[in-house]
């Protein structure tokens, strides 16, 4: 490149720099907001956390409850399987001692039979 080109390079760069410096406040502000949005997305992607999963879990629980309730409404008397499922949930939530099942093999076999009947 000759000297004239280098001078043109230098002056055009200086002119560009000035145009960047003279950007209006409104545009600067919008660009800053765009940057904040980009970084906010990064934070959201990094930590979905309980804030996301709690509503999802609650919705799933509500759906299960609604399905069980509907089954109860449509058939009388209430199906054993639905009752069994509710009882299982109840026991798990109550922290029952599951050791008792191992002590009574007859009960265990009966329970298995009842569950398979309920599913079928």
């Amino acid at each position: 490149m000759n000297d004239e080109m280098r001078e043109l390079e230098r002056r055009s760069r200086a002119a560009f720099d000035e145009s960047v410096e003279s950007l209006d406040a409104e545009t600067r502000s919008r660009l800053a907001r765009a940057r904040a949005r980009a970084l906010a997305e990064l934070r959201e992607r990094r930590a979905p956390g309980p804030a996301v999963w709690v509503p999802v879990g609650a919705a799933a629980a509500a759906l299960v409850a609604a399905m069980l309730w509907q089954r109860e409404e449509s058939t009388a008397p209430p199906p054993d399987a639905a009752f069994a499922a509710l009882e299982d949930l109840d026991m798990m939530a109550g922290g029952e001692d599951f050791e008792m099942f191992h002590e009574d093999e007859g009960f265990y076999a009966w329970a298995e039979e009842q569950m398979s009947d309920g599913v079928g």
Binding site: M1, E4, L8, A15, V20, L23, R30, L31, A34, A38
Partner: protein, 207 residues
């Protein structure tokens, strides 16, 4: 602005005696701060470059915002020295997409309004974005830049891109090659041709 940057650097270099989990969180926060600094340092120049390429203020803002989001989402974990060429590569692709859309839109509008209406349409060069509120002492630079924009608009897209990236954004040959997705030899050739065209067009220009 400078003071703010110094303060942020001081925070980043503060000694840490934290557990592994806290260290990891600290590293992530550091990276986010580094990205913030990087984008803050680049956004205005990127916007002006997008303005010159697209000749539309709003489209340029959208392009820069999308480029920022994609940069953070896809390349935030890359080493910092790669960020600049990667960011400009994203921006370049976004600008190319927008230019294609603009071309289709113009073709549809020309077909819709007929040849007479098209001839009377305003010259897009006349509505090119200029820095607003330019003081008188900056008039000379503004005039030169306006003329450069007109010359750039007539160059091939490769020549225009390489001039914007090399001269205005200050990318070196290797970085410009990454940003443009071409060889370093191609960058040198296109840049020299762009400079030749500018010299030819602006040769008689004396402020």
């Amino acid at each position: 602005m400078q003071e703010e940057r110094v303060n942020r650097s001081a925070t980043l270099s503060a000694p840490m005696s934290l557990g592994r989990r806290d260290e990891s969180r600290e590293t992530t926060v550091d990276r986010e701060r580094a990205l913030d600094r990087f984008l803050a340092g680049i956004e205005r120049r990127a916007f002006r470059i997008a303005c010159m390429a697209l000749r539309d203020h709003a489209e340029a803002e959208d392009a820069v915002q999308d480029a920022m989001i994609r940069m953070v989402r896809s390349y935030g974990r890359h080493p910092e020295d790669q960020w600049r060429p990667l960011f400009y590569r994203i921006l370049r692709n976004r600008i190319t997409d927008t230019q294609r859309r603009q071309k289709v839109r113009r073709a549809v509008m020309a077909w819709w309004s007929g040849p007479e209406a098209d001839e009377s349409a305003p010259d897009p060069l006349e509505s090119a974005v200029d820095p607003r509120g330019t003081p008188e002492q900056e008039l000379e630079s503004a005039e030169l830049l306006a003329r450069i924009e007109k010359v750039l608009a007539a160059l091939s897209s490769r020549q225009r891109e390489v001039f914007l990236l090399r001269n205005f954004e200050g990318l070196d040959v290797a970085q410009a090659a990454i940003a443009m997705g071409c060889s370093e030899g191609s960058v040198k050739t296109h840049y020299f041709r762009a400079m030749q065209s500018l010299q030819l067009a602006l040769g008689e220009w004396k402020p």
